[in-house]
């Protein structure tokens, strides 16, 4: 589901863009830990894989079919940082070259299908595999992770749409409809993800990032019958690495979403005519159940149009400033901890 231009108002588009940029910046650093110097070619090929796999249609129920989002699958196979990067690049390429997903909605798309889908999928996966061990657990966790990630993405979309969408749809109905349909699609996604992961586990278990802890130590048997067991199993940096953005990004999204929510109704309520139509036609009584709509309308409708655009601009500016601050905080933290980790690694070597 690629959001085109015009679906969200400018404030939400821009703040989602800031969230997406912050997320991608964090992942660019994290991916170097997951793939070291091979980052660009490997992530490029995995991105091509994600692009291809998104074209796989699978039958859901009688007559309907869905297509894979691939966020959870990519996270389990190559790690969360690389997965966010790959999905972001896929969306970038689709937006630039295929006109699939609007350029102004790129931030929304990356935030939803990259950051939210991957984080939720990876979070659920880690939660399960940390408590239960074994190959079966990895496959089952893949199923649950992918199953949860799809409706979670749909609900995040609904939340954004409620904050700054351009259509008058009741949040409850949309949430129910989106959640319901995407739960069905999620089952398909979960099945495909689980079987894909188990296939890769059967052939090249070393390629499944989420199952690195299962890797057996290398046993060398010499010609004279001596057996050497190398205990050198690649220490997964995932637990430490995954936790930080795990809480930080959702918090960032929440802050940005809150800002966008407060800001965007200033930016949008009057210039876009929904509430005005509502008031003119006398059904603004209904606005009681979305209480955001009523008050600013009463104020701005009377003042006469001018502050509306100005407020919109100020709102966008504030959102950008705060979002930019967030971005730089993320960067500094990341630099700091990155250095710490490097020195740790050196110490352990």
């Amino acid at each position: 589901m690629h959001v085109p231009d015009g679906f969200f108002n400018a404030a939400v588009s821009l703040s989602a863009g800031v969230v997406a940029a912050a997320g991608v910046a964090v992942c660019l650093r994290g991916a170097r830990r997951e793939l070291d110097d091979r980052t660009a070619p490997m992530a490029g090929l995995v991105a091509a894989f994600v692009f291809a796999v998104q074209m796989l249609n699978f039958p859901v129920a009688a007559g309907t079919s869905g297509h894979l989002l691939g966020g959870a699958l990519a996270a389990i196979l190559v790690g969360p940082y690389t997965a966010v990067l790959c999905v972001a690049v896929v969306l970038l390429v689709q937006g630039f070259f295929f006109a699939d997903g609007g350029l102004t909605a790129l931030g929304v798309n990356i935030t939803l299908m990259g950051v939210v889908a991957v984080l939720v999928g990876w979070g659920v996966f880690r939660l399960i595999t940390r408590s239960v061990r074994g190959r079966g657990a990895v496959v089952a966790a893949s199923f649950v992770a992918a199953l949860v990630s799809v409706p979670a993405t749909a609900l995040a979309f609904t939340l954004l749409f409620w904050i700054g969408g351009t259509a008058p749809i009741e949040i409850g109905t949309v949430a129910a409809a989106m959640g319901g349909v995407h739960l069905l699609i999620g089952i398909g996604e979960g099945l495909i993800t689980a079987v894909t992961v188990s296939t890769v586990l059967a052939i090249r278990p070393d390629l499944v990032y989420g199952a690195r802890e299962l890797a057996a130590p290398l046993v060398l048997r010499g010609a004279s019958g001596d057996v050497t067991v190398t205990s050198e199993s690649p220490a997964p940096p995932a637990p430490v690495a995954a936790r930080r953005p795990g809480w930080f990004l959702p918090a960032g999204i929440a802050v940005a979403a809150l800002l966008a929510g407060v800001v965007s109704f200033y930016a949008s309520s009057s210039p876009d005519g929904l509430e005005r139509v509502a008031e003119d036609k006398g059904f603004s009584g209904q606005a009681a159940d979305h209480s955001l709509g009523e008050q600013p309308l009463a104020d701005y409708g009377d003042v006469g149009g001018i502050p509306v655009g100005v407020a919109g601009l100020i709102g966008v500016g504030v959102t950008l400033a705060v979002g930019g601050g967030l971005f730089f905080t993320v960067r500094r933290r990341d630099e700091g901890s990155g250095r710490g980790e490097d020195s740790d690694r050196k110490a352990s070597v």
Partner: protein, 254 residues
């Protein structure tokens, strides 16, 4: 979708629009899309003027209308969604040809259709007049992280290869009589996806080694001269500039 898929997006040519540096075009398209999104939806004629602006660019770039229309197919899912909004929207309803439609929903549908269409046409024009690689280099000039640009470039280069692998697997499945009809067939598709992942990943490793043996140190040399004369910025700025003039003009009138 198969071999050479993304090459058909680009229409080589030597017009004023083709010659503009990619970063100028990117900024112009993004600025234009932003202005369109910011336009209140009641201003019908402003959208008409935006369409005229795009038509002028298409004419200058000698991109035929048929090409644009064919490429606009990507929009179809959202057209369907937009058409559904008047039926599920709440608020006052009007009856038109026996159908009960929500007024606010009609506005929303119009809003999405108009803005999404203009955005899609602008993006299609960008892709049609600029080589894919150059768009990415232009994005790098605009401070998109070089790592992201490199990933996108590797993806673009090998996209056809991966899609070709997928097509061959599909041909192999179907020549053995496979048709995905219901949920029981998902494992077959999933095993293909698993095989595809392993092939992609291993190809990635080979590509990396091949790059290393050719002196790759983690960054790609840029051999194109992507410097911009200020005159070119001026030319590229005409599209968003004119759109902004339309927006401000209609604001003054409204």
């Amino acid at each position: 979708m198969g071999a050479g898929h993304h090459h058909r997006l680009h229409r080589p040519g030597d017009t004023l629009v083709h010659r503009l540096p990619p970063q100028c075009k990117l900024v112009a398209v993004a600025g234009f899309a932003l202005v369109v999104v910011a336009t209140p939806r009641e201003w019908f004629w402003a959208f008409g003027l935006y369409a005229v602006l795009l038509a002028a660019v298409a004419a200058a770039a000698r991109v035929p209308a048929g090409f644009l229309l064919r490429r606009m197919v990507v929009e179809v899912p959202f057209v369907l969604f937009a058409l559904a909004i008047p039926f599920i929207g709440f608020g006052e309803r009007v009856t038109f040809m026996g159908l009960s439609l929500s007024v606010a929903g009609l506005w929303a549908a119009w809003n999405i259709l108009a803005k999404a269409t203009l955005g899609v046409v602008a993006s299609v024009l960008l892709a049609a007049t600029t080589e894919p690689r150059l768009i990415l280099l232009g994005a790098q000039r605009l401070r998109l992280p070089p790592m992201l640009v490199q990933i996108a470039m590797f993806m673009l280069r090998y996209l056809d290869v991966i899609l070709g692998e997928m097509r061959r697997m599909r041909v192999a499945r179907e020549s053995r009589g496979f048709v995905a009809r219901d949920v029981r067939h998902i494992p077959v598709i999933a095993r293909s996806a698993g095989a595809l992942f392993i092939r992609s990943y291993e190809r990635g490793e080979r590509v990396h080694l091949a790059m290393l043996s050719r002196g790759y140190t983690g960054s790609m040399p840029v051999i194109q001269d992507l410097s911009v004369a200020s005159r070119q910025w001026l030319v590229a700025g005409m599209l968003p500039g004119a759109a902004l003039a339309v927006l401000l003009g209609s604001w003054g009138i409204a």
